[in-house]
């Protein structure tokens, strides 16, 4: 014997009276959560996604460079190539185009200070200074990326034990 006692959008409650006179009330919604079983393929997808994410993250993390240079690229062409170690005073670079951009360099750091682009993602990225970091203004097609240069003789070994 079975009867549906309540039916709304979120859960369907089914009350069933068994032959022994036992009254069982179960919620269809609860049953669904219990039915949700992860399959082995799900973990394979997760592992693949995490592997791709970690390998692209490796581009982020680079060791400290001796010289870091800021490269400002517009539409695939390099406009400026600046040694950030020598930048101490505030320097302004303006780009008058479809969107007026104001790029500021100060104390070995660089950022987009003002921009007329609609989403202002470039301004919110803030100061960047380490090699591997980049700030992008997609509507204006401007990329600032920081590239490191390493001296060959200045390696990471502190002491050699024999």
């Amino acid at each position: 014997m079975k009867c549906i006692i309540s039916l709304n959008l979120w859960e369907i409650q089914v009350a069933s009276l068994t032959n022994d006179g036992e009254f069982i009330l179960r919620t269809a919604g609860m049953e669904l959560i219990m039915k949700t079983k992860l399959k082995p393929g799900d973990f394979i997808i997760l592992i693949i996604v995490i592997t791709i994410a970690l390998s692209s993250m490796a581009a982020f993390i680079q060791k400290d460079a001796d010289i870091s240079r800021a490269i400002i690229i517009k539409d695939g062409k390099t406009l400026y190539d600046i040694n950030l170690n020598k930048v101490k005073k505030r320097t302004e670079i303006r780009d008058e185009g479809k969107y007026n951009e104001l790029i500021v360099l100060e104390n070995g750091k660089v950022r987009f200070e003002e921009s007329d682009c609609p989403d202002k993602v470039c301004v919110r990225t803030g100061w960047i200074s380490r090699p591997g970091q980049s700030a992008v203004c997609l509507p204006a097609g401007i990329i600032i990326k920081i590239v490191g240069e390493y001296n060959e003789d200045n390696n990471d070994i502190d002491i050699i034990l024999k």
């Binding site: 994410a53 695939g76 990225t125």
Partner: protein
């Protein structure tokens, strides 16, 4: 037969409007202010695509995805956001169509949804690399993919609930019957 085609067109239209509402709703969450990276979205409209793949056919899913991208970028976005959302949606569709063949045997709805979300972000990064003619955006992929795992799980959970309930109500059974009589 004509009647069934008309019904499916009407269902497509309803689903497109639902997807548009969802992409408006997810714009109300100010994720862009917390993480200043373009392209991080919850991807609520993906729920509609998953539903269309399960109960309608691939053709309907493609139509829904393309028209949703066109209208939502006309309403809220620009040419750039159109290119991004279209390329992401198409690659996500290709991934989900190939994953859905192994549904119940190899993958659950969570795997399909996470795979679709990750493919969406990979598509966006590919288009960004082509547009900027530079690989400077590549490091963003890691952040986008980690967010895809979270948002993919979320949309997978919602789709699971939605499809389960529609099964109980019986709407989906009617749709499948139509699909069978159509072919």
């Amino acid at each position: 037969m004509k009647n069934i085609a008309l019904k499916i067109t009407i269902i497509d239209g309803i689903l497109i409007s639902m997807a548009l509402i969802l992409s408006y709703v997810e714009r109300l969450f100010p994720i862009g202010f917390i993480i200043p990276i373009p392209g991080i979205k919850i991807g609520l409209a993906n729920i509609i695509t998953i539903f269309a793949l399960f109960y309608l056919d691939i053709k309907s899913a493609v139509i829904i995805a393309i028209i949703r991208c066109i209208i939502s970028s006309m309403l809220f976005g620009s040419v750039y956001s159109f290119l991004f959302s279209l390329s992401g949606a198409m690659i996500a569709l290709i991934a989900m169509v190939s994953l859905i063949r192994g549904y119940n045997r190899y993958f659950s709805i969570f795997g399909i949804s996470i795979g679709g979300a990750a493919a969406h972000n990979i598509g966006q990064i590919i288009i960004a690399t082509i547009l900027l003619k530079s690989s400077a955006v590549l490091p963003y992929l890691s952040i986008l993919l980690f967010s895809a795992i979270i948002t993919g799980t979320l949309t997978g959970f919602v789709s699971e609930k939605l499809i389960g309930h529609l099964d109980k109500i019986g709407i989906s059974k009617a749709l499948i019957c139509q699909k069978l009589s159509n072919s």
